[in-house]
Amino acid sequence: MGTSPAVRIENLTWTYEGAEKPALKGINLTIQPGEVVLIAGPNGSGRTTLCRLLNGLIPHFFDGKMTGNVFINGINTREATIGHLSQISGLVFDDPLSQLVSPTVFDEIAFGPENLGVPPDEIRKRITESLEFVRLVGYEERAPYTLSGGEQQSLCIASIIAMRPQIYVLDEPTSNLDPIGTEQVFRVIARLAQEEKKTLIIVSHNTEELVTLVSRIIVINDGQVALDGDPRSVFAKAEYLLKTRIAIPQVTELFEKLKHLPKFRVSTLPITLDEAYAKLRELGFENSAETTPRAEDYEDAKSDELLVEADHVGFSYAESQAKALDDVNLKVRKGDFLAVIGQNGSGKTTLVKNIVALLKPTEGVLRVGGLDVRKVKTWQLADKVGIVFQNPDIQLFSESVVKELAFGTKAMGFTPERANERMSYVAERFGLKDLMNESPGEVDKGTRQKIAIAAVVVLDPQTLIIDEPTTGQDPDSARQIMNIASQMNKEGKTIIMITHSMPLVAEYAKKAMVLSDGHVLFQGLVKNVYQETEMLKKASLKPPQIIQLAHLLKIPQRILSVDDMYSYLVKRAGA
């Protein structure tokens, strides 16, 4: 067995029961023990299906048609059970709460080994070891659902570690986590690779952070292996990756754009911040000192009309002593595009729930459209502030799109003329015209998300709040939502976006508010937020890679996006 590869896939084609075309076709792959592989590709390209092959979920759990063979440590998965394969190859999925099935952390880790019939004394030993490995010692008796997202996902990994597999397959392990949680999980993954020398197969959009950890990247597109090689050779095909909407490091994207200019011609595209910095310094783009004047704060104020006004607002949940919000002052004016940034538990969601009167401030005064939120019910604000939540499945309940849209207009007592006018407006705007009689349950996730937004926008709220567009979404659909928001902002609507994705803030928002432990750490223009390195550190936030590069080069100009950097460099090179 020592000589067989960890994974060998031969001529594999798989079609799910009821599907028209195969999810994977003609796959041939070999992964050697100890390799750390990143599987990249757009959502729906077959990456998750590939993971399911690696412990026998396909063909034993899912129904469908399989041709070809998969060998795990030399064992043909057709001839083994999932239970047997789970001791060789452990799977971790994206949503921690769907994987945690036990009342305590202790029982959670015991669950796998118990199923395998490991003796209790040995299980106890493994529980201690795996908790030490993921740094959750002392959490044994906690209920999993009370942990933070990062802790939950670390626990999921610990539960797999206790089963002692040689291969770890992690399917989007950080897509539901905030930056702190993501870092926590990546640290665990790095230790598995570097200290334990395990074989790791990671599906992720987070290429920027994983590029230094992985030894190989496999790009799957449309059910086939599109690219396969070490990170440098794969990112060399940056043009293809960008075209297929696969996330690549911002610095790589920058050099892909620059390489057409003679001055920036490089033999290989940089893939890390350090490489890009070294290259640009070599080309003489470093400045001696950063002398950027602070942008004036009133610069972007379009109007004086106050839509949301928080005056020393505080909030405490009944069950805890700590304040979830403390002394928050906020003025949102008509036409603003505000990003509320912070980790999970920083108070972002609590603030927004106060704005829509789902929660009532325990201190201070909060006015929305001139109304004191303490004196109104949530539904009374529905035509003033709309919220789009992350998961469309919890928001849709009607048998047709048209009924879904009509829910709000009926509830708010719109006249039939106004309801029709609004409904045809959103149908046009969100491209739902041909789907009005379809069931929201039958369309794809991206369209469901659009229906959910349309169902909010149909009430014509002056302010639209978007709750964490990146969590549980692939970067492309997050961007689609942001493009809609951005367009609406240009038409005069006010947007408040809650997020921990720093690149989205930089590209879309104009103003920012940074929250940490219920306190406001920063309030002002997005152009200024990235200068405050100490403050960002305190909030455990990192500027996007391209802004970090601008800081290293001490560029005397606001750089917020790859395009900004590109124009700056082209101008400097020309001058």
Partner: protein
């Protein structure tokens, strides 16, 4: 959460899940036998004292009853004229004290019937309280699964039941999310409007909850399968010891004694509504 385990060190927490399941069945059985409000009320008091001595705050244990208050009221109002004792005694017009619907001869009520339906109300509270205090608040779901397996319930069924209970708090969270999302679209929730409007609101609430739960169930199935669930289930091990200790045997002995006395007393008609009724009669006689 009305349904989740409350970690603490207490006598009840330390009992084996089997002992507590038996205790719950014994209490339920005796509650069905007893029809006297004072006796039933005393049993309820004992369970409440047990719960307080197990470090379960009143606020938590009373929460479910509080939420069930509309249902309880409904039950009491209907039970008052319709309980079997009342229906029997109204044959004798002399027993009728008053009519529930004023100025009509509808829904006649007897004194005995009132005593009886009060006992029924306490019975309801007693069963709800015992279930929470003996099972949900002081017993981990894995221990219940374990107890069921010891009683020869097939392991996959027992384990699946345990996993199901684990998801109750998660279900609670998604219910709140669904309600919030609808309020933000102008929905007035299930608490306002007439019956039809409330029923519609309830359906609107249930659909997304069911859809997201079914989706989650598929993910959960994949996740537990990947962790060897169902692999050689005969040889599955359990890391938590379940051993009947001295306190379990003593508790069971007390329960048997209790059950025998209840059987003896009810067969002599002592724990029935007559007890409170005759007490009331005597009080009236004295006054």
């Amino acid at each position: 959460m009305a349904f989740s385990y409350i970690p603490a060190k207490s006598f009840l927490h330390s009992l084996d899940a089997r002992t507590k399941l038996i205790a719950f069945f014994v209490i339920t059985f005796s509650a069905v036998q007893i029809t006297d409000p004072i006796v039933m009320g005393s049993m309820l008091a004992v369970v409440i004292i047990l719960s307080l001595s197990s470090h379960i705050p009143m606020r938590k244990s009373a929460n479910l009853l509080y939420r069930l208050l509309p249902l309880l009221t409904f039950y009491f109002i209907f039970n008052l004229p319709l309980n079997p004792l009342n229906l029997k005694l109204i044959q004798d017009p002399a027993k009728i004290l008053f009519y529930m619907i004023p100025f009509t001869k509808w829904a006649p009520i007897t004194g005995e019937g009132m005593v009886f339906s009060l006992a029924m109300l306490f019975r309801f509270a007693l069963i709800v309280y015992s279930l929470q205090v003996l099972i949900t608040f002081t017993t981990q779901t894995v221990d219940i699964s374990r107890a069921l397996i010891k009683w020869k319930v097939p392991a996959p069924i027992a384990l699946t039941a345990g996993i199901g209970f684990t998801f109750v708090p998660v279900l609670g969270q998604s219910t709140t999310m669904v309600m919030d999302a609808q309020k933000c679209r102008g929905g007035k929730g299930v608490d306002t409007g007439n019956t039809v409007q409330r029923l519609k609101a309830l359906i609107n609430l249930l659909i997304p909850i069911i859809v997201s739960t079914v989706k989650r169930a598929q993910f959960v199935a994949v996740a537990i399968e990947s962790r060897g669930f169902g692999y050689n289930i005969e040889k599955r091990t359990f890391v938590r010891e379940t051993k009947l200790g001295m306190r379990d045997y003593v508790t069971m002995a007390i329960l048997i004694g209790y059950l025998v006395s209840i059987y003896y007393l009810t067969s002599h008609g002592i724990l029935s509504w007559n007890f409170t009724w005759s007490l009331l009669q005597r009080l009236r006689g004295a006054a």
